[in-house]
């Protein structure tokens, strides 16, 4: 495009000057007043054929280094080849985990709301109870919502915990009641929402959670047992990431001997690793999971798993 400006006493005079110079097809882009008349900006576009930029094959890079001791340790935890190669790039596994994965706290500020989701039996309810206990011990009064309307006894199980904590459990069997419960008291304390067990590979289940998160503004944390199959965990996490899951809560780290599912899920779903279940105690059975702690567990052979902490 060629842009020219023309000054004249009148718009008509400026336009004829533009047409005289740029031709009859000149496009008038705009005018503005100047001291002794108008300034007209006009443009023409020459005919030209421009070929698009075509991508070429990338230049090869040197294969990343591999640390065989680390790779063997990861294999013992059930991590498949590709994920092992990604993580066993050097002797310092903690540094590599910190670099390749994300480790973040759960979004549990005063106006935070967390949808705790996962397959049946993953440990969602106990995880909610543990999070509520921690918040309570920190002097807060979390709003605990049981959205698990389908399973007999699900609400009672959580109610037993909230009674001990002196918190009212809000039973919300339908999405609409969850939204109403969340709207009340928002901004005062974080909300924890226990949900019914879902099938990560079922589109309807995912959509239901995604819709609830979208309507409520709640973040989604995926609960998976540390001992599940690593590929199963990676695929579950990837599917749930599509529904909006951003954080990973790994349960039963104290019971599992092979915990490859934890890094696999974090990679598969690009989830931030938040917490790990470390024991049955409501007060001390859940702790933020750091790159160092995860690396230490992965470098421990399954047969040498630390003894389980006793119940508080």
């Amino acid at each position: 495009m060629r842009i020219r400006t023309f000054r004249a006493r009148t718009v008509a005079a400026a336009m004829s000057a533009a047409r005289a110079e740029l031709g009859p097809d000149a496009l008038m882009l705009g005018t503005r007043r100047v001291a002794d008349g108008v300034e007209l900006t006009a443009a023409t576009e020459p005919e030209e054929e421009i070929a698009p930029v075509v991508p070429v094959a990338p230049a090869p890079v040197a294969a990343p280094p591999r640390d065989h001791a680390v790779e063997q340790a990861l294999a013992a935890h059930g991590l498949p080849e590709g994920l092992r190669a990604a993580l066993a790039t050097g002797p310092n596994l903690a540094a590599r985990l910190a670099e390749a994965l994300r480790f973040e706290d759960l979004p549990l500020g005063p106006s935070g709301a967390l949808l705790v989701v996962g397959p049946p039996g993953a440990g969602k309810t106990l995880t909610v109870a543990k999070l509520a206990t921690r918040l309570r011990l920190a002097g807060q009064t979390p709003r605990v919502i049981a959205a698990d309307g389908r399973r007999a006894g699900a609400v009672e199980q959580l109610a037993a915990f909230t009674r001990l904590l002196g918190i009212d459990l809000i039973a919300a069997p339908h999405p609409a009641t969850v939204l109403r419960a969340l709207a009340q008291g928002r901004g005062e304390a974080p909300a924890l929402i226990d949900t019914a067990g879902l099938d990560p590979f079922d589109a309807a289940d995912r959509e239901e959670i995604a819709a609830l998160a979208a309507a409520s503004g709640a973040a989604i944390a995926l609960v998976l047992p540390a001992g599940m199959d690593a590929m199963e965990a990676a695929e579950s996490a990837e599917a749930m990431a599509e529904a909006g899951a951003r954080h990973l809560l790994a349960t039963r780290l104290d019971l599992a001997r092979r915990i490859g599912a934890v890094p696999a899920a974090a990679i598969g779903g690009a989830l931030a690793i938040a917490e790990g279940g470390t024991g049955p105690g409501a007060a001390d059975g859940l702790a933020p999971l750091t790159a160092e702690a995860l690396a230490a567990r992965l470098l421990t052979p399954p047969s040498a798993r630390p003894a389980r902490a006793s119940a508080a």
Binding site: E45, A59, P64
Partner: protein
């Protein structure tokens, strides 16, 4: 959806060394064609503002060979983009900007190796950036000029911000940028930023002029991403090598950048 998910994790597990190559955050590229329109300043300040909104941000200096992001903010960098050609990760090569919440992947190299990259190496660098999955936003500052490298970098962006000022020369080059981007990536997300605007109104008029030309000649209607008002303190902050939002957080230009960041990361 699940079939896709399953297949991609399976691929993930079978390929080396790209198991982490899940798409990262949004790639926002910043181009202008013309130099001197404040593109690098905009890239830095936008990265800063996105980080302040809570995202994790990597600023990539794609002005290969003439890069100066690190100089503008007085950042000592130990690594640069050329490490991607050796198979190192963007995360490992990035340098955190103290107290600003974003990281910089520098484009300056002591050896000058980045100045003469062949197209194949550009692809390797793009693959390395695509594997940088730790970030919510990757902001790519593309060098002045409309050569093959600049066009290829612009074509992979999820969002291309075309920067202009109110000068006719800048407008002409911004138009050329839009035109080439439409050829290289039909249907892409392209938006206009008017930098160093006299006022919000004159900035919007500049965008309308550009849009009118694009609508008539290219059948494109690029939306306005934002107007950044001229602020003499910008060059002062650059001279002092301090990030602008650190030095002048309450300025009009900072507010303008904040609005731009909000529109990109609602």
């Amino acid at each position: 959806m699940t079939a896709r998910a399953t297949a991609s994790v399976a691929t993930l597990a079978a390929t080396i060394p790209e198991p982490l190559a899940r798409p990262a955050g949004r790639l926002i590229a910043i181009a202008s064609g013309k130099g001197g329109v404040g593109k690098t300043w905009l890239a830095i300040t936008l990265s800063h503002a996105l980080a302040q909104r809570g995202g994790s941000v990597l600023l990539v200096d794609g002005d290969l060979g003439l890069a100066n992001v690190d100089v503008q903010i007085g950042l000592a960098v130990a690594h640069d983009l050329s490490g991607l050609l050796k198979g190192e990760s963007a995360e490992a090569l990035a340098t955190a900007v103290p107290d600003a919440g974003f990281s910089v992947l520098a484009g300056r190299s002591g050896s000058g190796a980045l100045a003469q990259l062949v197209p194949e190496q550009i692809e390797t660098i793009l693959a390395g950036l695509a594997a940088a999955r730790r970030y919510d936003h990757v902001v790519l500052d593309i060098g002045a000029g409309l050569d093959r490298t600049a066009r290829r970098l612009a074509s992979v962006a999820d969002t291309l911000l075309v920067v202009t000022t109110e000068e006719p020369t800048a407008l002409t080059d911004a138009y050329a940028c839009l035109k080439l981007a439409a050829i290289d990536r039909p249907g892409g997300d392209r938006r206009v930023v008017v930098n160093m605007a006299g006022t919000q109104a004159t900035g919007e008029r500049t965008w309308l002029t550009l849009r009118k030309a694009a609508e008539n000649f290219l059948k494109l209607s690029p939306p306005l991403a934002g107007v950044i008002r001229r602020d003499v303190r910008v060059s002062e902050a650059i001279r002092r090598q301090v990030p602008f939002l650190t030095r002048h957080p309450a300025s009009e230009a900072a507010a303008d950048i904040g609005r731009l960041a909000a529109s990109l990361a609602p």
